[in-house]
């Protein structure tokens, strides 16, 4: 019998997930909706997790923020921006407001598109995901969720329930850059998120997430290695930018050519360096066209 299931508790969600592994799991439906309107897919059974009360919460802990899978992007980004105000413009550019009002952070992560914008950021911030099923739960690094293009390690009956994001650390300098043809309401050609800890002029920690350069969102392991333990200066940045440009083999498509994607990654690292040195006008986003901006 066709049905829409909208459980109100986590227990009911997990038991329904076990009973109906074929049901399409949805949250805000901002991507699954396109499978209906563009691919003409039909879903006899829908399991909607947005009413699950436990997963509608943002929980604040000493060392991390836990964002439930039913939390709308608007609210999820509000929580992330409260901790890291520099993410405000990225939150705005993530999608148009009506999409952010429906879509969820958990859905963006679980959907696993290589050009989903939240994952490069969450990888750089060192986020974990919590997968739950009627049998129990497990926690893994966000980047370890993905095994291939829109493929992941989730077993039948498992649900992505929480995203745990470490709080901002005193020595961290974190930025996320989105390259798209249109400032608002557009999809990334490349997304680069950098989170470095600079202490005494040295790179003490390096965490870098990238989107739009592989079949999945990825961590830039080689570039991290090129930065770690090095003095934070132009020579290090230049060397690391070369590593970053060569680390991935992006494809050419209507959003950008492969060569552009590789080139711009290195340029974004240069922008990050400039911003770490106090440069304010390093991107178009800082330009305000209207006099009445206040």
């Amino acid at each position: 019998m066709p049905a829409t299931f909208s459980p109100k508790t986590l227990k009911d969600l997990l038991s329904l997930r076990a009973q109906h592994p074929q049901a399409q799991l949805v949250a805000g439906c901002t991507d699954v909706g396109l499978w209906v309107t563009k691919m003409h897919m039909q879903f006899a059974r829908i399991l909607d997790l947005t009413r699950v009360k436990e997963l509608r919460r943002v929980e604040q802990y000493k060392h991390h923020i836990a964002i439930g899978a039913a939390v709308k992007l608007t609210d999820a980004f509000a929580a992330l921006v409260a901790d890291r105000p520099q993410l405000a413009s990225f939150a705005h550019r993530f999608a148009g407001l009506p999409v952010r009002n429906s879509g969820t952070l958990g859905g963006n992560v679980a959907n696993g598109s290589p050009i989903g914008d939240s994952m490069p950021l969450l990888i750089a911030l060192g986020a974990n995901v919590v997968l739950m099923s009627a049998r129990g739960h497990r926690e893994l690094k966000l980047e370890d969720l993905y095994t291939g293009y829109r493929k992941n390690v989730m077993a039948k009956g498992e649900v992505l329930a929480w995203i745990k994001v470490p709080r901002a650390a005193p020595h961290e300098f974190s930025r996320v850059y989105k390259i798209s043809k249109r400032l608002e309401d557009d999809i990334s050609a490349v997304c680069l998120a950098l989170n470095l800890h600079i202490t005494d002029g040295m790179v003490a920690r390096a965490s870098i997430g990238v989107g739009g350069v592989a079949a999945t969102p990825v961590r830039a392991i080689k570039t991290q290695a090129a930065l770690l333990g090095q003095p934070w200066n132009p020579a290090t940045v230049q060397a690391a930018a070369q590593v970053l440009r060569a680390e991935f083999s992006p494809i050419s498509d209507m959003r950008a050519s492969a060569a552009y994607r590789s080139e711009v990654l290195g340029n974004l690292l240069q922008r990050y360096w400039l911003e770490s040195q106090g440069a304010a006008n390093s991107s178009l986003e800082t330009l305000v066209l209207e006099g009445d901006a206040a």
Binding site: T37, K38, G96
Partner: protein, 198 residues
């Protein structure tokens, strides 16, 4: 056919619909089943905003209104919520300001812009709306005619027109009635306060 009834609160009434398919979009429900064709289909993928409607939910005892894309939203996902479409607004300041500022040309995107403006209007207690706030509220609406300037003018001008607010208490009462199990429901409409009710 889906076995669950779909129930939402609109124009002071509980709307109960049965037999709505699981994968029916809210836009198709509005245009094809309810014959409310004021809400438009543009891109069908949540980019252009022509299909924008507003949904309301109770959050910490208060009514929270949000603009959403009805084209990619499943109809059943608004079960238990309040709904406003462009048909439900009657000479609202958002509409009046769009007329006064010449914010509509071909008109296809206008219902979507009006609904985003309506959500912005309701989300602000008082005080002027800045250009940046207006841009943020309209970030999910595309217009090929106007170049946006007159629409942004309208966003800032609507606050200066005579106020017209949603009756929060009445909508909250409707939402709480929806939250009760179905058999306790009166199958009739909740009394709408008056014609100015949104």
């Amino acid at each position: 056919m889906n076995t669950q009834a779909l129930r939402f609160f609109r124009c002071g009434q509980v709307v109960t619909l049965s037999g709505v398919a699981t994968d029916r979009t809210l836009l198709d429900l509005l245009r094809e089943d309810l014959h409310c064709s004021g809400t438009k289909e543009g891109c069908g993928e949540g980019d252009c905003g022509a299909c924008t409607v507003v949904v309301g939910e109770e959050k910490q005892g208060k009514l929270e209104l949000k603009a959403i894309n009805s084209c990619i939203r499943l109809a059943h996902s608004i079960d238990g919520m309040a709904l406003w479409t462009v048909e439900d607004l009657k000479n609202h300041p958002a509409q009046e300001a769009m007329v006064e500022c010449h914010g509509s040309q071909c008109g296809f995107c206008t219902p979507g812009f009006v609904m985003s403006l309506f959500a912005l209007y309701e989300s602000r207690a008082s005080g002027p709306i800045s250009r940046l706030q207006a841009q943020g509220a309209l970030s999910g609406n595309l217009c090929r005619c106007t170049g946006y300037r007159p629409i942004l003018d309208a966003a800032q001008a609507m606050q200066d027109l005579p106020a017209m607010r949603v009756d929060q208490d009445a909508v909250l009462a409707g939402l709480r009635q929806l939250a009760k199990p179905e058999r306790q429901q009166a199958n009739t409409a909740i009394a709408a306060p008056d014609a100015s009710y949104l």
